[in-house]
């Protein structure tokens, strides 16, 4: 037979385990609101980032199904009948490059991305057909985001306009 004291202890334990305290409820509510706020802020930041980061690229090695890390990528802009280098970056651990050009500089023009894929294959001790890959494209709507990836293998590549 349970004593009244023991029943009281069990009831208290049950209540505490399944029903958060009022203080904890408040904390959970605040945390949820913070998370929602953070998600909204993050979404807004993403939208803002897309405009501030109007051009991105990505190199995937489709022979191994992995991103191609450490590929030098140079962005050039065609001005006055010649190419002017804007930036040069290495693809990161996800095979990506971003922040290649500011939205201010990203005007309607012709651009070129040069992917130094030979160095990638040299580092892997593999031969490739292409000493480098150039993709030349024209921008008419610079307010949009442009993603220019390369699906790469040693004797084949493809590219497309992504968003």
């Amino acid at each position: 037979m349970f004593s009244p004291a023991w029943s009281l202890v069990c009831f208290a334990l049950f209540f505490l385990m399944d029903h958060p305290s009022q203080l904890e409820s408040t904390e959970i509510t605040e945390r949820t609101e913070r998370n929602s706020s953070q998600e909204f802020t993050s979404s807004v930041s993403s939208i803002m980032s897309a405009n501030e980061n109007p051009l991105t690229s990505h190199v995937l090695d489709t022979a191994i199904g992995r991103p191609a890390v450490g590929v030098p990528v140079t962005l050039s802009k065609y001005e006055n009948d010649q190419w002017r280098n804007i930036s040069k970056q290495l693809t990161n651990s996800d095979g990506r490059v971003g922040n290649m050009i500011s939205s201010e500089e990203f005007s309607s023009s012709r651009y070129k991305l040069t992917f130094e894929t030979l160095s990638y294959y040299d580092s892997r001790g593999e031969k490739t057909f292409y000493p480098y890959i150039e993709v030349i494209f024209e921008i008419e709507t610079p307010e949009e985001h442009f993603h220019v990836p390369i699906l790469l293998s040693a004797y084949r590549f493809s590219t497309y306009r992504g968003s």
Partner: protein
């Protein structure tokens, strides 16, 4: 004085007709296909250049035929181990269709290490994407 029969037997045999497979003075060919409509692309101007002393020297330019192909872009004698560039003037094709395209032209730069082999460099073309590969 040799007779006509003797002169004909000592004349050099005619060269074999050029073929797509195997070299026979046709070590490099190209092809453009529009994969949006599943058809070859005739009338594309293709320019072949060879890298010499750090500069590109134009070798030839040809227009793709009704099958979207060009061949005999370079002689076997000139096709030495080097880097080559094929420039495909693809925008004119889309302009003729009244379509926009992302690419004003397509350059494919490739390395030849075994010029005794045949190299085929096709473009599978769309207005907003393309692919290429080393064919034989």
């Amino acid at each position: 004085m040799s007779t006509r029969r003797e002169r004909s037997t000592t004349a050099a045999p005619p060269p074999p007709p050029p073929t797509m497979a195997g070299n026979s003075d046709n070590p490099l060919s190209a092809h453009v296909l529009d994969t949006t409509i599943g058809r070859p692309v005739p009338g594309i101007l293709i320019t072949l250049s060879k890298e010499e002393n750090g500069k590109w020297r134009k070798i030839t330019e040809q227009v793709t035929n009704k099958d979207g192909r060009v061949a005999r872009l370079i002689s076997q004698a000139e096709f030495t181990p080097s880097s080559y560039k094929l420039n495909f003037n693809t925008k004119s094709y889309f302009e003729s269709l009244g379509q926009k395209t992302f690419y004003p032209y397509i350059d494919v730069v490739f390395q030849v290490e075994k010029p005794e082999e045949h190299y085929h460099v096709p473009i599978l073309l769309n207005a907003y994407g393309y692919s290429t590969y080393r064919g034989s």
